[in-house]
């Protein structure tokens, strides 16, 4: 009788896992173009002028400069409207054309990560519907929200690897009368700002060397499908994402590090809406207080809807507990727009923010009192019916 070796016995009982030999996230392009050549989907190509940027594992990424389709963020447009307005304003100021579509839904991923009241096919169909809408206009998608960006990268990976999912989504898209489209690159607006940082700095009107900045990198930007995120050897030696920090450096501000940079903001998706005690505690104890103690920033910059919301709004009630809070929070788009001379209220819409940003404006050399008076003037015109809306012309672009 043959004896079973104990180790064999053990192995026969043990759950086996097939690990992918290369843990780096793949360069998806090959698979994408292969599916295109087999007629399974259309790839919307980067067109016209573009900048090639470095990513985490070295795969080059093309960032189209103009003719962009703005995939907006519900949290930005709804609650931090100076965020999206600043992105548009910078693009206009630099002379690049774009489309701000109505044929766009949210990615619905905030809800998905909060409540799971959706499924893989629905999430993929929502993504592809938006991509098809962009494709139909000929403009290339630019994603405003970090969560949309991260989620769409996940959806892309699932679609590329799961034929059943593709078939399921294809049936839905046929019902909608839309083609299956994926863009050649999924691009976040902060990547566009990074790619354009020299053009932005060339139009800069404020000197920022005395402005101390800490950056909160957004989890869904660089943790989900991490191989797609920008890493630059000249920014933290390529060991942290260069999104936001690269722009801050180029603008000449005083970029300061702190130890909990990898921590999330505490947003939590469902927590920010229905369990904010967690959000407030995390944002205060693990982010704002650590930044203050270690780096004493004048401003916290980040590049996602949820992070601006969680870090800004969470600073009010901790004051009642005597916590060391009180640093303004905004997107790097608003900060860059200010540096380029944008109006703090008409463009950056800082009155929608909670934490006191006025000392920062003063340090930047912006007369916020005069600016507020100008904004109130505009409001008077709107109130009196002289005009219905503030326009791009009113803000000089």
């Amino acid at each position: 009788m043959t004896q079973i070796e104990p180790v064999q016995l053990l192995l026969s009982k043990k759950e086996r896992f097939d690990r992918e030999p290369d843990r780096r996230s793949e360069d998806f392009h090959e698979l994408l173009f292969d599916l295109e050549s087999r007629g399974e989907l259309v790839v919307q190509r980067v067109q016209g002028d573009y900048v090639t940027v470095p990513t985490k594992y070295g795969t080059p990424k093309k960032i189209q400069k103009g003719h962009l389709w703005h995939h907006k963020s519900c949290g930005q447009c709804g609650h931090i409207p100076g965020y999206s307005t600043s992105i548009f304003w910078i693009m206009r100021k630099l002379g690049y054309d774009y489309d701000d579509p109505r044929d766009q839904t949210s990615c619905t991923a905030w809800n998905y990560y909060a409540s799971a009241t959706s499924n893989q096919a629905a999430q993929a169909a929502v993504a592809l519907r938006n991509f098809a809408a962009a494709y139909e206009t000929g403009y290339f998608p630019l994603i405003h929200c970090g969560t949309s960006y991260g989620h769409y990268k996940e959806v892309r990976s699932e679609l590329l690897h799961q034929p059943e999912l593709r078939n399921q989504v294809r049936k839905v898209m046929e019902k909608l009368g839309k083609p299956m489209v994926l863009p050649e690159e999924i691009v976040h607006y902060s990547e566009w700002l990074y790619a354009m940082r020299d053009e932005i700095a060339a139009t800069q009107v404020l000197d920022l060397k005395d402005i101390a900045v800490t950056v909160h990198p957004a989890c869904h930007y660089y943790k989900l499908v991490e191989g797609d995120a920008i890493y630059d050897p000249d920014v933290y030696h390529g060991q942290r994402t260069a999104a936001v920090s690269g722009l801050v450096q180029t603008l000449g501000a005083d970029l300061r590090s702190y130890s909990t940079f990898f921590d999330c903001c505490g947003f939590g998706f469902r927590h920010i809406l229905v369990q904010r005690d967690f959000t407030r505690s995390f944002a205060t104890l693990r982010k704002i207080e650590v930044m203050k103690e270690e780096a004493n920033p004048d401003v916290v910059l980040t590049h996602d809807t949820g992070c601006v919301t969680a870090l800004d709004k969470s600073q009010f009630s901790p004051q009642a507990h005597g916590r060391d809070v009180g640093v303004p929070v905004m997107s790097e788009a608003q900060f860059a727009a200010l540096a380029m001379g944008a109006h703090p209220y008409k463009v950056c819409q800082l009155h929608w923010h909670s934490t006191n940003y006025k000392p920062l404006l003063e340090k930047m050399g912006i007369d916020w009192k005069a600016a507020w008076a100008e904004f109130e003037d505009e409001l008077q015109h709107l109130k009196s019916g002289d005009k219905e809306f503030l326009t791009w012309e009113d803000v000089g672009v």
Binding site: G78, P81, T105, E164, S354
Partner: protein, 239 residues
């Protein structure tokens, strides 16, 4: 009485709790979790190194651990996974910091799948976690944008400071003071085209996403179904 010696690697149900739930239904739920095509890419065993826990925001403030999630799933510990489904998964922040796992696991992703199964099967934890959240589900599914300017009400966000009141009092005017033409809305984040909404409704119906709501909030499901069917009917679309 059962003792731990029955299977020393699995949690005993009287310790895991939820003994009143039949084992067969727990097994069925976990089979649903493991049948998800994403699962094989989210789990490769576990070193028990705790790197995910160190990175996890929820582990700092709750009795919660992504390591436990990965461990239970790797062992297929049915009773423990059920306990986690009822008691743990809604604490997760879905930040995906745990993707730092040196083994290549995605505990946050396992949780996404477990949550989906919890919702689909109307588990108590899902109903409890989403209590008070229904209005958001209604907003996103019916309008295509998740949060809207008119949600900024001081009674909804009393902890966000007096600025929320300023916004809500001036909402109409301040929205008109936004240069982007799509931003003059108060009920949605931006102006979404009618045809876009119709397409979104078709997606919810065709993929079964709408059906999922029924298990967690029948009332909201009914309203959503009515809104969507009426709209699609107006467009002459048969469901």
């Amino acid at each position: 009485m059962r003792t731990v010696t029955e299977d020393p690697y699995m949690k005993v149900d009287r310790v895991a709790g939820h003994e009143n739930v039949e084992r067969a239904s727990k097994v069925a739920l976990m089979e649903e979790v493991f049948a998800d095509p994403r699962l094989p890419h989210y789990l490769y065993g576990c070193y028990e190194c705790g790197i995910c826990v160190a990175a996890c925001p929820s582990a700092r403030f709750y009795d919660f651990s992504p390591r436990r999630i990965a461990q239970a799933a790797a062992r297929r510990d049915i009773d423990l996974m059920f306990q986690q489904m009822e008691e743990d998964i809604w604490e997760c922040s879905q930040c995906f910091s745990c993707l730092r796992c040196p083994r290549g696991n995605n505990p946050g992703g396992i949780i996404t799948v477990m949550r989906e199964v919890a919702v689909k099967n109307g588990l108590h934890s899902a109903q409890e976690a989403l209590h008070g959240y229904s209005r958001i589900i209604f907003k996103i599914m019916s309008t295509g944008t998740q949060v809207s300017p008119d949600m900024l009400q001081p009674d909804a966000f009393p902890d966000w400071g007096p600025e929320v009141k300023d916004v809500s009092e001036n909402l109409d005017l301040w929205r008109r003071a936004l240069p982007p033409e799509t931003h003059h809305t108060t009920k949605t984040g931006w102006a979404v085209a009618d045809k876009t909404i119709v397409e979104l409704y078709l997606i919810w119906l065709e993929t079964g996403a709408l059906d999922m709501i029924k298990q967690v909030d029948e009332g909201i499901h009914m309203i959503l179904e009515e809104v969507m069917e009426e709209r699609l009917e107006d467009e002459g679309i048969e469901i």
